[in-house]
């Protein structure tokens, strides 16, 4: 049972990972927790659904369409909502993303209804055996994609000009500005990237959590917890946090009883923050004067 619980936990953790990474990417450059991240993903899933069902497009074309939709959505959100209030305090930025959550939620419910919809692309139901546990192919494909995107992000932040500029903005926006880095553009890019990651999360999760306006709510909250677990600044930390939460949850569900399964993540985060306020992999920032 242990092996199976572990493997299933990893599979579930991988579901949270993409959202957690997106939360970190946005937080690093804008100091905002993006509450609308899940709804970006939801819009992506619905977009893919529409492309496949109503336009009869191929899965990959639909995925591309969803990515495009979400990137545009992210950019539009930055330009219309976040830029005018860019200099405000944390609370303002946070609640602005909350406003976006409400809007996207309402619009999705209005356009597509509240009904849960099946995603037309399902995976081969035969499971794959990994070290003594069974994983469904959907989860494996999800993990492969998530891993691929993780590597891509690694490459992006390490070797591309924009990626390095982004890291500079993360470290110190003011200095970055002085160094001639177009901070505004980088922030725009960040939101575009949030949309990109959201589209993948949405389309990959759609066959597993099914498509509905509130499909991402639970995943999103776990994604935050994972991101905070990893310290909110670190992408590998977020991924590790997501996997840890997936595994611990499943273990608690298996050995302590299912009542405590969903609460595990929150107990973990409360305890962690009480002792390590900067998260597991966060850097204790030097108090600045």
């Amino acid at each position: 049972m242990f092996g199976q619980l572990f493997i299933s936990g990893v599979a579930t953790g991988a579901l949270y990972a993409l959202t957690a990474v997106a939360v970190v990417v946005v937080f690093r450059n804008t100091r905002t927790i993006n509450l609308a991240q899940g709804d970006f993903a939801m819009v992506g899933a619905f977009a893919a659904l529409v492309f496949i069902k109503d336009f009869g497009l191929n899965y990959y074309v639909a995925l591309f369409g969803a990515v495009l939709t979400c990137v545009l959505l992210g950019i539009a959100f930055e330009r219309i909502v976040m830029r005018p209030i860019a200099d405000s305090d944390w609370l303002t930025l946070f609640t602005a993303t909350l406003g976006m959550y409400y809007v996207l939620h309402g619009v999705a419910g209005w356009f597509w209804g509240r009904d849960t919809k099946a995603f037309p692309v399902t995976f081969d139901p035969t499971p794959i055996e990994v070290i003594g546990g069974l994983v469904s192919q959907g989860h494996v494909i999800n993990m492969a994609w998530a891993g691929g995107i993780g590597l891509m992000l690694f490459w992006f932040f390490r070797y591309t000009k924009q990626g390095i500029a982004m890291r500079a903005v993360t470290d110190d926006p003011d200095t970055a500005m002085l160094m001639g880095i177009p901070v505004r553009f980088i922030v725009l890019l960040t939101w575009g990237m949030a949309g990109f990651l959201a589209a993948f999360a949405g389309v990959l999760l759609a066959p597993i959590v099914y498509v509905a306006p509130e499909m991402m709510d639970e995943v999103l909250i776990k994604g935050y917890v994972a991101a905070v677990f990893g310290g909110l600044y670190s992408i590998p930390g977020a991924i590790l946090g997501a996997l840890m939460i997936g595994i611990t949850e499943n273990m608690a569900g298996g050995y302590l009883g299912s009542h405590f399964k969903t609460a595990t993540a929150f107990v973990m985060i409360v305890v962690l923050l009480a002792f390590r306020p900067q998260g597991l992999f966060g850097i204790q920032k030097r108090r600045e004067f």
Binding site: A212, D217, S258, K261
Partner: protein, 411 residues
Amino acid sequence: MVDPFFTREVKLVTNIIRQLITVVGSLFVLTMFQSGHASDGPGISKDQILICSYQPMTGKVSSYFRMGKGADAWFKHVNENGGINGRMIKFKMVDDKYEPARTKNIVKRFIERDKCFAIVAPLGSAPTKAVIDYIVSKDVPLIGAGTGAAKNVFYKSRNVFPLYPPYDKEGTDLVRFTKEVFNAKKIGVIYQNDASGKTHLKGIEVGLKQYGVEMIAAEGYEPKEVDLSSQVIKMKSANVDALICSCAPEPAAKVYTERAKLGWKAPVVNVFFGKSPKVPELAGKGAVDGVYFATIFREWDDPNEHIQKAKAILTKFYPEEQHDAVHLWGFTGAQVFSEAVKRMGSGPITRAKLLDTLEGIDNWKGSVVPVVNIGEVKEGEEAIKHLLVPSMNYVVYKGGKFQPFTPPWMK
């Protein structure tokens, strides 16, 4: 998709204006102009009957809003055909987000401000539990609420007309099912960690004693839980003979996906509110193959004329909806109500008369329910005799469709 936009925008604006007028109006206008017979009950005018319903239009269980849509489709159909005895039926649905605190306020408004004649086909165990005392205390009929919580079904009042049997009775029946169909000795239960699941569990415990079956594992899940693998893994490793799944469609789909993945073969029976074409659609046909479901309605592809009519009506008024048993819950309450109004004729319509007329419906075959038989309840007796759908049937999902299944004791 273009037309609903426009109508909804118009509806939005008119709605705001109407709300403002009613609020301001009821502040200043002391006596309301009442039309129709002087002896008519509240909510009845010369050409309209106002009935109301609270629905989870948004929020976590919003997929059950299907019930409201079912009822709404039927009333739209009735109105399109000239209403009943010259009166149109105005069916007002309000979003309570499945939050009891909101429900209570909404129902107060229904009864005190809007003067609703009756509450028809509302949804939810918890919301109904929160408001049933109030509804009954105001002597308002509550017809066909989508709830199987014991309090709501056994409520001691003539005003309550429960839709389907209480969940605990179903739970007991399902234990019998596992015993007599699966020949199980040790069973496991996966249940939704809320009023419905816990009521099922109570009934199952009764059934265990009655039929000499042992329950060796019971696992709950949260309604919106992302992943149910640990529950299923635990069931499998507990090595149960059979599984009772008290699951709504989406979680049921997750359970069956997981079960197929693990290659676990123990037989499963699912409670009736999880019986939906959604389950095979979401989980994949293979995963659901061989799963038994309790059900209270015929299949949508049943040649029965009322089912086919309901299908046509639903397709007409809610073309984007995928047909589901939950729609039929709404249909039942709505159809029984309109039948009662029809039977009352053109004379004055009052709530007391409605109750009498409803109780007079015997052996009626004009709705999506095969036979409606409403018993008589005296003041102080339990409303269980008012059940609109008293019997429960079983189906098994085989070869890509739900097929009727008759357990030995029903033969």
